[in-house]
């Protein structure tokens, strides 16, 4: 499966800064893993169904009085098979979803993200006077809760290599947990259509090592 991933990355060109298949943070990595598992399972199911279909097409039953095998087709394949597969998948998906939720912790950092047409303003709980535009600064290696809201229309906060997306809704605050294990920059984009400037509604996440993070909190962006 990893080989598949490598091929896709090759196809994706140099770096794929927005690729969900090139995860950097734990949440994105978990979801990429779900994808590869579901892809493998889907290919297997597709092969099974297409195989049965081909067999059914090629078959030439001799006598009209043959049994219909309704039990096999309807009870086993039609009902039991999807119920078992789907129950397993749903439980698996929910357990992982539970793991990705923002939870209390000693080293959780809280930041705010406020969207508008077509810019992002970020604020920092540890430095209330600090505000940045279109660049979100976070400490590397620590879980970060982003409190997301909007001033005008619906937007969505999405850094594909770190985590899934969460909507920015006027009048609501949604909390997304992200984490960048290593310092660096990660591309982010709004992912809810917001009018003519939607294409350019992007931002960057800058992850700092502990020293640089302390310096940022004390002095603001360099």
């Amino acid at each position: 499966m990893m080989a598949c991933g490598a091929t896709l990355q090759l196809l994706a060109g140099c770096q794929g800064q927005l690729s969900t298949l090139h995860p950097a943070g734990p949440a994105a990595a978990t979801i990429a893993e779900i994808w590869w598992i579901m892809l493998a399972g889907s290919v297997a199911i597709l092969a099974l169904v297409m195989g049965l279909l081909t067999a059914a097409l090629l078959r030439r039953p001799d006598s009209p009085g043959e049994p219909e095998r309704a039990g096999l087709w309807l009870w086993t394949l039609g009902l039991a098979f999807p119920l078992i597969v789907l129950a397993a998948l749903t439980v698996y998906g929910l357990k992982i979803g539970e793991r990705l939720l923002p939870r209390e912790g000693p080293d959780v950092v809280t930041v705010t993200a406020e969207a508008r047409q077509w810019a992002w303003s970020f604020g920092y709980a540890d430095a209330p006077d600090l505000a940045t535009e279109d660049i979100l600064h976070i400490p590397a290696g620590r879980p970060v809760d982003v409190r997301i809201t909007s001033l005008d229309v619906v937007h969505s906060f999405w850094v594909p290599r770190l985590a899934g997306k969460l909507d920015a809704l006027p009048g609501h605050v949604n909390i997304l947990r992200i984490e960048a294990p290593v310092p660096g920059t990660y591309a982010g984009q709004s992912a809810e259509f917001s009018g003519p400037g939607y294409l350019g509604h992007v931002f960057t996440v800058q992850a700092h090592d502990p020293a640089a993070w302390d310096q940022f909190l004390a002095e603001g962006a360099p």
Binding site: M50, P61, L74, G78, P82, L83, L86, T90, G97, L169
Partner: protein, 826 residues
């Protein structure tokens, strides 16, 4: 059946043809209400919209073929993708299957026409007028540009000035009205208008599917209509339903939209599935495996589809427990689908398949739809959804489901039914080439689009930069999509050529076993020379000569001496002959009523509210003329239906067709009212400080007034059932007036609906009561005038009015209680 002398068939054909034929020349197209004509027009117009939507799709793929394309700017692109989605969903997909249902359903059920032919014609014309208005606006550059799901506040007046969003809201709502009209017609037809002996378990499988779909339209479209009403009143008059600062909430729209939008997907898929279940067994020279299972799956799919709208909202910050419920429901919906798929493969297994063109397209369906179903299950997994939501992955998924699950089976259906609809058989063989262009090119296009989504390409961006690995994928998708478009064009061309110049042939070319193939080819306007009598699910298999016996008049209602359009009404469960329905003759009323209805919807676009009011008055007058002229002039008692049976005329029964139609229309109305109460409760619980405590006042007088009014209104029609005279009608009139006075308490107590979403919601509750009181008053006026003209009130009329009166009384009481009781407890 009794035998009659030869020559009867020809005589019967001539007489029925005279009675059922449309007006001569062009006028015939405007005044016809025959299902054959209405269906063909419907089909042609829907195909035209498919071509328009296809051209829009090509514009999108041309724009995205290369990075940094200068072909379109964002303003044009936003209109193009919004219109592509809107045209394909509302102007093509739904009308196209309605067209096929209108055309084919009477034949399948063994009846001569649908239950309400004029309503069908009305639905057709509203669709044509509304759809044309949307297209004309597009050509003028005034299209909506906020995406086909129109999320506020982006679609609110502040962020979308101009009339684009209004075109969408008003145009699409008028088309939904048309869909509801057709749905009422379909439900009543399936339940009541069938061949003698066709019990529910003997119905052709497509009738089951389309029955489920029609009920779903009645229950899924009203929330959307309510949403459009809220958004349009916000845009036009400033009622702040979605404005946070005035107590509204933008999420309310998303709930209402997806309460419609998700069932909509199954509303589109199920008719196609019905076609598959009809065609596939014939192609395999056998019968459907597990008829009961398939019926149960269709019903459960219909029910489940209402429980998973939130899976379009997994990224809106809904608590994880809520997501868990909807995630489970979303995956569960794959189970009935799986039952259907395996029933069909099992059918092929037990039969001997012939590889005709319809079968080829059905194989295209399997290869595509199964993949779409699998990616659908992936998207139902919440964490994965967080990544791919609003990316091209979702775009690819929905095209797999809609093209694979709808367009391919519908093409199969067109090829399969072409002999019946046009009387022609395939002679030119473009169809095979077209298939091998469309299906492979489809997979190349949308597999590439899936991958682009995984690599982070958002949907609805008008262009993109190099360097994300998207260039090659988009280029491949665009090239393949053009190949696919050429293939679709060839399909349309192939069908058009064969319709004009194909071969003539004999009836039932596929050796099918269902009744529609017992009619001559092409199917005549009257459908069946006599109403068939059947004894199993496969009447043509039991009796290969059934077609001749029907033509010779050996079924019911072969007597043309009454010189009018008649068909049989049967009991819902058993299919026992019950009544004789008299169907209306050709008339310009449907197109005139549609003209007025459309004008009342579209006039607000140019702020001509006066025109809207004038058109509404026109609607009322035309509706009164419609009802008056279709009401029977005299009482007939029992009439001879053939086979020694004497049956009452439907209009003289206790449950005339109008009663059944009203019943299902009120189901839709009730869902609409329920959605309004849902919106009220939603804002109450979700919006902060709602309503502001100072707003809450105990006011029990309106509730008491409503209680008295509701009692009087509901008592009137009941009294009329056993008491002559003006008294009962006057009692209902008094009830109406009391309810109206109770409703007036809302605008009196809260005079500015624009101040707060609470005020706006109360005004809509009052509006609901006001509208239904007005409808009741119009009906009372009609019944009063009938009395004055010397027609005694019929039991059926009283009971039909009784339904409306009960509904008005019941919802009026609930509405006023919802408005004023919370204050009493505060």
């Amino acid at each position: 059946m009794t035998t009659r002398p030869r020559g009867t068939a020809l005589r019967l054909h001539r007489e029925l043809k005279r009675i059922w034929s449309p007006d001569p020349r062009f006028r015939g197209w405007l005044t016809t209400n025959n299902n054959n004509d209405v269906g063909r027009l419907f089909l042609a117009v829907a195909t035209l919209f498919f071509l328009i939507g296809g051209v829009l799709a090509m514009l999108i793929r041309a724009q995205l073929a290369t990075p940094g394309s200068a072909f379109m700017g964002p303003e044009a692109y936003n209109q193009v993708f919004t219109m592509h989605g809107t045209v394909m969903m509302f102007l093509f997909a739904i009308p196209f299957f309605e067209a096929l249902a209108v055309l084919l359903l009477p034949g399948m059920l063994g009846t001569r026409d649908l239950a309400f032919p004029r309503l069908g014609a009305f639905g057709l014309w509203v669709y044509i007028f509304g759809g044309s208005a949307v297209i004309v606006a597009m050509l003028m550059g005034l299209s909506p540009d906020g995406g086909w799901f129109m999320y506020p506040p982006l679609s609110s007046a502040a962020f979308s000035p101009g009339i684009g969003a209004d075109v969408w809201l008003l145009g699409i709502t008028s088309i939904e009205v048309s869909a509801i009209a057709t749905a009422v017609e379909i439900v009543v037809t399936v339940l009541r208008y069938r061949a003698a002996g066709m019990s529910l378990s003997r119905m052709p499988i497509f009738a089951w599917y389309i029955l489920v779909v029609a009920v779903m339209i009645l229950t899924a479209f009203p929330p959307m209509i309510l949403g459009s009403l809220l958004l349009e009143t916000e845009r036009a008059f400033g009622l702040p339903f979605f404005q946070v600062e005035n107590g509204g909430d933008p999420l309310l729209w998303q709930h209402l939209f997806w309460l419609f939008g998700h069932p909509e997907v199954y509303i589109i898929f199920l008719p196609a599935a019905g076609m598959i279940a009809t065609i596939l067994p014939v192609m395999a020279r056998t019968t459907l495996l597990g008829y009961g299972w398939v019926v149960a799956s269709a019903v459960s799919l219909g029910v489940l589809s209402f429980g998973l709208w939130v899976h379009h909202m997994f990224t809106t910050g809904i608590p994880h427990l809520g997501l868990a419920f909807f995630s489970a429901a979303s995956t569960l919906v794959a189970v009935p689908t799986s039952v259907m798929i395996f029933s069909w493969i099992g059918t092929l297994w037990k039969g001997r398949v012939r590889m005709e063109l319809p079968m080829l397209w059905l194989l295209g369906f399997f290869a595509t739809f199964v993949i779409g179903g699998l990616t659908g299950v992936m998207i139902a997994v919440v964490p994965f959804n967080w990544q791919v939501h609003d990316t091209h992955f979702v775009v690819a998924h929905l095209h797999y489901v809609l093209i694979g699950g709808y367009v391919f089976p519908m093409i199969a259906a067109i090829y399969y039914f072409q002999p019946l609809i046009t009387g022609r058989f395939r002679f030119f063989r473009l169809g095979g080439i077209a298939f091998w262009l469309v299906v492979p090119a489809f997979h190349v296009t949308f597999l590439a689009v899936h991958l682009a989504g995984l690599l982070g390409q958002r949907r609805r961006i008008w262009t993109y930069d190099e360097g994300q690995g998207w260039e090659l994928l988009n280029f491949i998708a665009s090239v393949a999509s053009f190949v696919m478009a050429i293939g679709f064009a060839l399909v349309v061309l192939d069908i058009a050529i064969n319709t004009l110049a194909g071969l003539r042939g004999r009836r039932n070319p596929w050796q099918a076993t269902t009744l529609e193939w017992a009619a001559p080819i092409p199917s005549p306007t009257y459908g069946f020379a006599s109403i068939p009598i059947i004894g199993s699910r496969y009447p043509l298999r039991d009796d290969p000569k059934l077609d001749l016996r029907i033509a010779r008049g050996e079924g019911y209602l072969a007597d043309t001496s009454r010189d009018r359009r008649e068909t049989l009404i049967v009991s819902t469960a058993k299919g026992e002959p019950l009544q004789v329905a008299v169907l209306p003759m050709n008339s310009p009323l449907p197109i005139l009523l549609a003209l007025c209805t459309s004008a009342s919807f579209l006039a607000p676009l140019i702020k001509a509210y006066w025109l809207s009011v004038v058109a509404l008055i026109g609607v009322v007058i035309l509706a009164l003329i419609w009802a008056w002229t279709t009401a029977p002039r005299r009482t007939e008692g029992l009439v001879d239906a053939g086979h020694g049976r004497h049956l009452p005329v439907a209009a003289e029964g206790a449950d005339p067709p109008g009663w059944w139609g009203s019943l299902f229309l009120l189901v839709a109305d009730g869902v609409h009212f329920g959605a309004l109460l849902f919106g009220y409760a939603f804002l109450w619980t979700v919006a902060p400080n709602w309503p502001p405590p100072a707003y809450l006042r105990p006011d029990l007088l309106p509730v008491a007034l409503a209680l008295a009014g509701a009692a009087a209104l509901a008592a009137g029609p009941r009294l009329a059932a056993w008491r002559e005279g003006h008294g009962p009608l006057l009692l209902s009139l008094l009830g109406c007036l009391a309810l109206a006075a109770a409703a007036a308490s809302i605008p009196l107590a809260r005079p500015t609906p624009t101040a707060h979403a609470y005020d706006a919601t109360l005004w809509l509750l009052a509006g609901h009561v006001g509208l239904h009181v007005t409808l009741s008053l119009i009906m009372l006026t009609y019944l009063g005038l009938r009395r004055l003209a010397g027609h005694p009130l019929r039991l059926g009329e009283a009971r039909t009015f009784g339904l409306w009166a009960d509904y008005t009384a019941g919802t009026g009481l609930v509405a006023l209680a919802a408005a004023w009781l919370p204050g009493a407890f505060a």
